[in-house]
């Protein structure tokens, strides 16, 4: 192919601004094109024939199409972190400074040593990987092992481009939009639908994947209302753009159709620039919710399969026409057109009118309508009917074709007719409606024998097809069907019919039905799927080996896979399989398209739900923690201080120091993350009495109670304290992680199980900042700062709740202990959280108060034997954790019936114990409790749940669940963690190490 730029004039280069030259590079070499060019059109205009190497055989490939269906001309754009591989050159808008590179070749795209892959002949045929690499490795089957070694090299040799490993510097935005009618496709039928729907006052969104809307109107020679089609369409688009109820989205592909009228579209906001302007997203994904939709996505031209049909210079006929008329580029100096339908002839005529030399038109049909033949004769090309291209010639690019006689009735080739020199072969094998979107929703395609194509099946959601997508070919049908679809869509949206405005059309009337010819059989590689190097022989091989189902065919041969998803190959592949099976095409079936319609950057799907825009919760004291050296880490969505490390201190050293300080004097910890639920209403007490296993009906006002919540099946669900603030108002606390699920649990029971109870449930987790003050000096600290409340043992007894003030801040104080020490939880409004924290720190200075983090908090409660999330693991009951005393026998509660199962009282259930390291070795989290040696550990009799270094025991310890554990205190075992190579001698002890009689807490 030796393309060149045509003289720009009316009807030639309708998309170009020849007044503005654009410089770009391809494989490092500078080139020039015009504004309006695509990378593909500019490369052709510069005579660049080979732009890529094929996936498997590394065969040279050129530009095959002019749109998003391109299988061959894949390139890598940009450098550095913006590097993006596998981009279709046919979709890349040319811009100043564009950098493009070929891919999958070495050392260059023109001379690729990896083309040696073609030499093993049929060794790399369909199923190569399955046959070569699958199979048992056993003595006597060394070959498989050898091939395994080869696999890494073969896989490296195959493939497409390579992405960047650096973070993507661009932003990807999202947008939500709602409309009455979404129109996918801005061709004639889409524009007709948009005009009709807009005239009815509907809120319309019109999307088109190309930069310039208009579809086939941009390059056609037809005349609409006395104007050239490209001029007419620009005027109509300007009208639409001026309407407030219409949104035009060019460069926007409707990628996916979901349920209930939801569509994902991706707008390429800045892909036509070197890089986005500051703050501009590179792409924007639109989630569009439409009351109805008109799908006007057109049709994709099919190739015909014959030997050497992938050689650079072979391209689809309509694409060749578009390059001439829209981009002012001749696809070659001598063009031969090969077709099985009328549209190929018109492509030849339009190219000739644009100044392209068409040397021959070859049609498999014997009979061609007079007006079509006349169109062909206008080109002055030699005309061959009842003939076919049997094969192509050329070393790297096309230099000629071999013609033979052909019978469209028998599908058999006859005698060789001629060898013709040419550098471009424009092929048209018919048209496949682009019903990918509707197929995603499950509408089963229907075979149209006349059009030799599948049409979209019955809609299963609210959409209406228009134009070629619906099998309505030709401009007149496109306009009519566009308006008809719009009227139906308007009815879906509850709107009137609007006004009809179909233009007068002067132009061709042709029959789009092709002859049922998909392949010209001859020797040599005949490609069905150019992107994955799948040949017609591969399809027949799959048939011989039993992979006759369409789905199996796809997976065995990879036909229809990869970035183009078989847009130009699916129907042809099916036809070859149908012939091999001796069945009609519709009986062989078709695969269902899946979203997205065309390759989409992952960034566009992810949007901005990462980094600092991810959902992160901070407590009111967050800044203080950070400023005072806390190492913060994510605990679910919450950021929490792990420990406040002194210079040079490890986390373990820090939490041991913090734990000792609490036991010896006093510390404070941020407990704002606890779930907090306001439970109010005349029936609030009764409600709590039903959801907790222990009694809450008689909890006095001003007191808190620790409660256990069970699931219906009797297993523990969550725990926490609930404070009675007045007769009908409670403040429930939950575990940090359990807040959401407890709320759902409560709402379910309130709404579904006991709708007669008047109880309001409101999350107040964010309302309250919470600080736990723990240690023997905690009361002294409160005494130093609390106003309006007696903090003595009598003033705030154990589990007492009081209102007070600290430093002028209203607070709630509850005497609760998670640590096993004398302790209080102090709550205030979140916006005073930091002020409260600082007031308590100041008050505690003289007692050596220390802030402590989550590690020390955990250590303190482990030493005390208080359970938390790791023990409330969904498989434990109150009895297992030594909390049987909190199970009321006097009332029913959620889980009470199934908790009474005998199996829950079995003596060998996993029960809560503690274990301590006998020789001081670290006990690893996730260890199993075994009796045997490291080499022969025996079966697991339990597992650790919460592990720490215990300052109280001066060794590592862990809470654990052990079979029959409550009766095994004193037993020696091993905590085995074979993954980490740990096998630690431990002694089983009571989980209540600190203050077993509660003297400190109650003191």
């Amino acid at each position: 192919m030796s393309g060149f730029r045509l003289n720009s004039r009316d009807g030639v280069g309708t998309l170009l601004n020849t007044g503005r030259a654009v410089n770009f590079t391809f494989d490092g070499k500078p080139y020039q094109g015009f504004e309006g060019d695509t990378l593909a059109s500019a490369l052709i205009a510069n005579g660049v024939s080979i732009v890529a190497r094929s996936f498997k055989y590394h065969r040279p490939r050129g530009v095959f199409t002019a749109g998003s269906e391109e299988p061959s001309a894949l390139v890598t754009l940009h450098n550095g972190p913006r590097t993006e591989p596998n981009i279709r050159a046919t979709e890349v808008e040319l811009y100043e400074g564009l950098v493009a590179k070929s891919q999958n070749n070495w050392p260059s795209v023109k001379f690729d040593l990896m083309a040696v892959n073609q030499l093993p002949g049929k060794a790399f045929s369909a199923g190569f990987y399955y046959k070569t690499f699958m199979g048992p490795a056993r003595p006597g089957h060394k070959a498989t092992q050898f091939w395994w070694m080869c696999e890494q090299f073969i896989r490296r040799a195959a493939g497409l481009g390579r992405g960047a490993s650096l973070p993507d510097p661009d932003r990807y935005a999202k947008m939500n939009a709602f409309c009455d009618v979404l129109i996918a496709g801005g061709g004639p039928s889409g524009i007709a639908a948009a005009l009709r729907a807009a005239s009815a006052g509907a809120k319309v969104i019109l999307c088109d994947e190309r930069a310039t809307m208009g579809g086939s109107l941009i390059g056609t020679s037809d005349v609409l209302n006395g104007e050239r089609a490209d001029i007419w369409v620009r005027e109509r688009l300007a009208e639409l753009a001026a309407m407030e109820n219409v949104t035009l989205l060019p460069r926007t592909t409707v990628q996916s159709m979901f349920d209930d009228g939801t569509y994902l579209t991706v707008e390429r906001v800045a892909d036509h620039k070197v890089q986005p302007t500051p703050h501009e997203p590179r792409q924007r994904s639109w989630i569009i919710r439409a009351k109805s939709a008109v799908i006007a996505t057109g049709a994709i031209e099919r190739p015909i399969v014959f030997a050497g049909n992938d050689r650079p210079g072979v391209m689809l006929a309509d694409s060749a026409r578009r390059y001439a008329s829209e981009f002012g580029v001749a696809p070659g100096r001598q063009v031969v057109v090969f077709c099985n339908n009328d549209s190929g002839w018109l492509a030849a005529r339009d190219m000739a009118r644009a100044g392209v030399i068409v040397t021959a038109i070859v049609d498999v049909r014997s009979d061609v309508a007079d007006d079509i033949r006349a169109a062909g004769e206008e080109t002055r090309a030699e005309i061959f009917t009842g003939a076919a291209v049997k094969s192509t010639q050329g070393w790297q690019t096309l230099t000629g074709v071999e013609l033979c006689e052909f019978s469209e009735v028998t599908g058999q080739t006859g005698a060789t007719l001629r060898k013709l020199g040419c550098d471009c072969l424009a092929v048209s094998g018919g048209w496949s409606p682009a019903f990918h979107l509707t197929s995603q929703q499950g509408g089963k395609p229907v075979w149209d024998a006349e059009l030799q194509a599948f049409l979209p099946g019955e809609p299963v959601t609210t959409w209406h097809g228009a134009g070629a997508m619906a099998g309505k070919f030709g401009l007149r049908a496109a306009f009519r069907s566009g308006e008809e679809a719009a009227v139906l869509a308007l009815a879906d949206a509850g709107l009137g019919e609007g006004e009809s405005d179909v233009p007068e059309i002067e132009g061709d009337t042709i029959d789009y039905a092709p002859a049922p010819v998909f392949e010209i059989r001859s020797d040599g590689k005949s490609f069905v799927d150019l992107q994955h190097d799948v040949t017609a022989d591969d399809v027949r091989l799959a048939h011989r080996e039993g992979f006759i189902s369409v789905e199996h065919l796809k997976r065995y041969t990879t036909l229809g896979m990869a970035t183009d998803q078989g847009k130009t190959s699916n129907v042809t592949g099916l036809s070859i399989m149908a012939e091999a099976r001796g069945k009609p095409i519709p009986e062989v079936g078709t695969t269902r398209f899946r979203p997205p319609y065309s390759p989409t950057a992952l960034g566009a799907l992810a949007g901005e739900r990462y980094g600092h825009l991810s959902s992160e919760r901070r407590t009111p004291m967050h800044d203080w923690h950070v400023e005072n050296g806390a190492g913060m880490y994510a605990n679910g969505p919450w950021m929490r201080p792990e420990s406040y490390n002194a210079p040079g201190e490890t986390v373990e050293q820090a939490y041991i120091r913090e734990t000792k300080a609490v036991r010896a004097s006093v510390g404070l910890v941020d407990v704002s993350t606890l779930g907090k639920i306001d439970v109010q209403g005349p029936d609030a007490a009764e409600f709590l009495n039903r959801v907790y296993s222990n009694g809450f009906a008689k909890l006095p006002v001003g007191k808190a109670r620790y409660g256990l919540m069970l699931r219906e099946d009797g297993f523990l669900f969550d725990d926490g304290t609930t404070w009675r603030l007045d007769e009908n108002r409670f403040l429930m606390t939950t575990t940090t992680a359990g807040a959401g699920r407890v709320m759902e649990h409560l709402e379910y029971h309130r709404d579904v199980v006991w709708p007669d109870l008047k109880v309001a449930l409101t999350s107040v987790s964010d309302e309250w900042a919470g600080v736990a003050v723990a240690g023997p000096k905690s009361r002294a600290v409160l005494k130093a700062c609390v106003e309006g409340c007696d903090v003595s043992n009598e003033g705030i007894p154990f589990m007492g709740v009081r209102e007070a003030q600290i430093n002028g801040i209203p607070v709630l104080i509850a005497r609760l202990s998670f640590s096993g020490e004398l302790a209080y939880e102090v709550y205030t409004g979140a916006h005073w959280g930091q002020a409260l924290w600082e007031a308590l720190m100041n008050a505690g200075k003289k007692f050596g108060i220390v802030p402590y983090g989550l590690e020390a908090l955990s250590t303190l409660r482990i030493e005390k034997g208080h359970v938390a999330g790791p023990e409330l693991n969904g498989r434990t009951t109150p009895y297992d954790l030594g909390l049987g005393g909190m199970v009321s026998t006097k009332k029913n509660f959620v889980g009470s019936v199934l908790l009474s199962r005998e199996t829950f009282k079995a003596e060998d259930r996993l029960q809560l114990v503690a274990i301590k390291s006998i020789d001081g070795q670290r006990i690893r989290g996730g260890s199993h409790l075994v009796k045997g040696s490291k080499d022969n550990p025996g079966r697991s009799e339990g597992n650790t749940t919460s592990t720490c270094f215990s300052p109280e025991l001066n060794t590592y310890m862990s809470l654990a669940l052990l079979e029959g554990g409550s009766a095994r205190h004193g037993e020696k075992m091993f905590a085995a963690n074979p993954v980490r190579g740990a096998h630690v001698a431990v002694e089983v002890i009571s989980p209540h190490i600190v203050d077993p009689d509660g003297g400190r807490m109650h003191g």
Partner: protein
């Protein structure tokens, strides 16, 4: 007794006045944040909603409607059947309402500290909102005064349309920084002023 300290907004360190993003000559969005004097939720029982509305009228001088109602320094926003969120300058509102609407009529819950209010105004306010919230911001679907309980980035958000091109966003305090970052990031493309 010590003087009560100022409340600290979770956005105090980030909401710096200035003009940011693109179009710094003509920013299309204005952002500001405020803490409510009081924010109180009132949840009536299924059979008491009408009576609660009467109590509002008596206590606050405002009768709730299907849309949010603003009168003087009080905003009553319907957020569900028989449920309202009341934004008021009066810091003692919770106590007042607890007396005016006893528990046999409704549950009164203070949320003053549980939310921050980010105001987003300007010609592109609806456009910015649509970029993060899956609601139809067309005036026909979301009129002035309308209140929607929705979410951004899966985090709950109550949205009050204060004018054709203005919204008050009631976001959770613990997620406030994320809400602010989203609002500023989304507004950067059209330019924004923090006031």
């Amino acid at each position: 007794m010590a003087d009560r300290p100022e409340r600290i907004s979770p956005l105090h360190a980030v909401a710096e006045p200035g003009v940011y993003g693109a179009n710094t000559d003509a920013p299309q969005v204005e952002l500001s944040e405020r803490l409510c004097g009081s924010l109180v939720q009132v949840q009536a029982w299924p059979d008491t909603a009408a009576e609660v509305e009467k109590r509002f009228a008596k206590e606050l001088g405002v009768k709730p409607g299907k849309l949010g109602v603003t009168k003087g320094d009080v905003i009553i926003m319907p957020t569900g059947p028989g449920r309202w969120l009341i934004d008021h300058e009066d810091e003692g509102l919770e106590a007042r309402l607890r007396k005016a609407v006893p528990v046999d009529l409704a549950a009164v819950t203070g949320l003053t500290h549980a939310r921050v209010v980010v105001s987003l105004n300007g010609p592109k306010a609806a456009w910015v909102m649509a970029s993060g919230v899956a609601l139809d911001f067309d005036l026909s679907a979301f009129p002035v005064g309308g209140v929607q309980v929705s979410h951004h980035h899966e985090i709950g958000l109550t949205i009050h349309r204060t004018r054709e091109d203005g919204f008050d966003l009631y976001g959770f305090t613990s997620y406030a920084l994320g809400l602010w970052h989203w609002a500023t990031h989304a507004s950067a493309e059209v330019g924004y002023r923090v006031s």
